[in-house]
């Protein structure tokens, strides 16, 4: 019975080796990336700090870092459902965070969360000559 073969190896070996190879694949990939590949673009999900930190931001830095999306959602609801427009708008974010690529996409992509904002909102690069890289 055990003489049956799967993919050219004995059946018993196949049952053990194929899953183990799959399980070890990410480790192999990590070793390849860290040790063997010299020139890897390890795009890190770090904040790109604005030139002048928290100069007139709508909330303090810690709050924005942890909960900016809650704020954006609240404001969205107020504007869209309540018709109340206050001082907070995406346009003002651009004053300190000109690059959508650096300030939004980089971190969001790291955890596979596409920001919803830009399906509707226009968020071009602020500085002249700076080309905004869009992911869509």
């Amino acid at each position: 019975m055990s003489s049956r073969r799967i993919l050219g190896v004995g059946r018993n070996a196949a049952v053990a080796v194929i899953p183990l190879l799959i399980i070890l694949a990410p480790l192999g990939h990590a070793i390849y990336v860290e040790v063997l590949a010299d020139d890897v673009d390890d795009a890190q999900a770090f904040l790109e700090l604005p030139a002048e930190p928290n100069d007139g931001c709508v909330r303090e830095t810690t709050y924005m870092r942890f909960h900016h999306w809650e704020l954006l959602r609240e404001v969205r609801d107020e504007v869209v459902r309540g018709g109340v427009r206050k001082e907070i708008s995406l346009t003002r974010c651009r004053e300190c965070h000109p690059s959508r690529e650096k300030f939004c996409n980089r971190c969001h992509q790291a955890v596979s969360l596409e920001p919803d904002c830009f399906g509707c909102h226009y968020y071009p690069a602020a500085a002249a000559g700076q080309r905004e890289v869009t992911s869509r």
Binding site: M1, S2, R11, N12, A13, V15, A16, P19, L20, I22, I23, A25, P26, L27, H29, A30, I31, E34, D42, Q44, A45, F46, L47, L49, R65, F66, W69, E70, C107, Q109, A110, V111, S112, L113
Partner: protein, 418 residues
Amino acid sequence: METTAKTSLPKPDTPGGAPLLVNPDLAFIHTLSRRIGENYKKCMQCGTCSATCALSPESAPFPRKEVIWAAWGWKDRLLEDPDVWLCYQCNDCSTRCPRSAHPGDLLAAVRQESIAHYARPRFLARWVNDPRYSALLLAVPAVLLGLAVRLRESIGGALGLVADAGDRIVYSYSSTLPHWLLNGFFFLFAILVLVAVVTGVVGFWRDMKAAELARGGVQVRALWPSLRTTLKNVLAHENFGECTTARIRYVSHPFTFFGFLALTVVTVWVITGGINPLVKGDFIYPFSFWSPWKILANLGGLAVVTGCVLTIRERLFGTAYNTAGNYYDWSFLVTLILVALTGFVTELLHYFRLEPHRHVAYFIHLVWVFALIVYMPYSKFAHILYRTCALVLAESFGRKRGVPPVETSRQQRGEEQP
């Protein structure tokens, strides 16, 4: 009761026809009968089961002798018998038993008793295998984890565990259920689990070895080579491959086993994020969907769900088992599949960014993870250690899988069927 039974028991198979005093442990007989009914008492000791079993050794094969020991209430002898754990409940014996005594069910029930007997503390073993305590046993991790999450800031501040995030992004999961908190919480309980399970298994090993030596067994292989052979057997699912009746488990067990192994590997990777040289600075959690580790975790989760669904289907609708199984079988199976399913729900809610739903789902997931891991020494999950120990002992005492069933060996020798 146990001690008196033990001292009054003569050696098995005493040569010369010395009188054999049977001093039954009635409580044990009642426990077995409550779990699997009284079928095993129908046994007429014909030995069809032992002859048909592909996993049974050639000398003193099981399960014939175990069935009569159970009927006589020889609890001690059954609990310290490695053969009980060499049985994978293929149920080839049960399907061929002329008296429908279902030896496969009996050995499964004895294995459950074995875990309950050796696990420490005893009361937890009793609670984990009693459905009346299930709500309490789930409430304990829910309350403890809830307290830990509630007090995370003061705990972190007091222990100096909250590192400054610096320029790093702190994602939603990390702020509500921070890693240092979960790692510390589960590490604490993991140590308790380790102490409990090692205590139980050491006792099991000691009794098993003493019994094997008393029977006149000789250790023919050292422990390390025996362990190597056993691990190869376990990984390759060699014994499952010998089963005929419960053939489906040659598929369902590898799926569950390797799926769980994959999830364990990813978990170890995540836990060691701070010190693992292969993670370094760009460790981001939650992983991106296309991170190789996330892909492995998702595949592992899918494999566990697949394996569990196959097992549940077989238990409910299949023909491999005589009964659908008891609370001991189902609590482990349900806990395992719920760990995987709540994990997937958490992941999905993360992608949909539903707040606070994703945190609630994550919390529930963690409670089930606690139930799976912390109650491991007392649940069916403990088989990973008890069975491995018995396999190693059997290997080192030369109790190997016997020859294949008669028909197969005849065919191999090219003889004609009678």
